[in-house]
Symmetry: C2
Subunit: 149 residues, 2 copies
């Protein structure tokens, strides 16, 4: 039942960030270059202001992610250890990144987006339209350590 699955990236991120960093992605513009064979699969995406980008954090080494169950969020020892699934840490069993971004433009097989927290060269696994009536949960509540941060 729990056999590994093989995921073929459908595109790649290009931007000015060449090394891992922790903050200030909000205003960063990136392009997502989708494989030519999937260019048509983007038709209609330009009608949405925001999209989900699901990507693969390819620089997270397998060793740490196979053995790390707890982390201090944001690397801050002042925040108590949390299970990795209770955080957005990149060091997790499957380093899948998920971010809602503003879709600025689509031209053929290329998307221009703002706010993606992925470095140059990151493989993209999937793209989905963001639907606030479906994906937004204003009444949701979060852990105290996040409210204080």
């Amino acid at each position: 039942m729990l056999e590994p699955v093989v995921v073929k990236p459908i595109g790649v991120v290009h931007n000015s960030v060449k090394e891992l960093r922790r903050e200030s992605w909000e205003s960063l513009e990136s392009t997502i270059v989708v494989q030519d064979r999937w260019a048509g699969a983007l038709d209609g995406l330009e009608a949405f202001s925001h999209i989900f980008v699901i990507f693969w954090l390819h620089l997270v080494a397998e060793g740490p992610r196979e053995t790390t169950t707890h982390v201090h969020p944001r690397g801050d020892p002042g925040i108590p250890l949390q299970g990795v699934f209770a955080t957005r840490s990149p060091v997790r069993p499957n380093p899948i990144g998920l971010r809602v971004v503003a879709l600025l433009e689509r031209r053929g097989n290329v998307l221009r987006v703002r706010g993606l927290d992925a470095i140059d060269g990151t493989p993209v696994l999937d793209l989905k339209p963001y639907l606030f009536h479906y994906d937004g949960v204003p009444e949701s509540t979060v852990a105290d350590w996040i409210q204080k941060a």
Copy 2:
């Protein structure tokens, strides 16, 4: 750069839905049984009211998803064809499911959730806390065909 990545499921969904269906997941309760080795990685997740579940739609055959670039959303021929990335169709190059669910309970390596649109036996790839200040975009806009539906 675009080499396939291998993703090892970290758990599995259990619920009363044994066959694919299109609607009425909202009130469905499911359990997510996480592998014992990752039970600790759930510590602290219970402090969040909602979580993202990222899962693998294992029943979507590779043939259709390797060749399908456009679909009628919801299988409705009255809605014009859209690129699969402009829809939440399960038939897409990588059948990755993404859903915000209410987290009702965590006991050890088992989560009880409400609203997951995945059938019994679905492999789970990742779990993340839902953070409205980060993941919610109230000002986002969607395609006309969604507003009319």
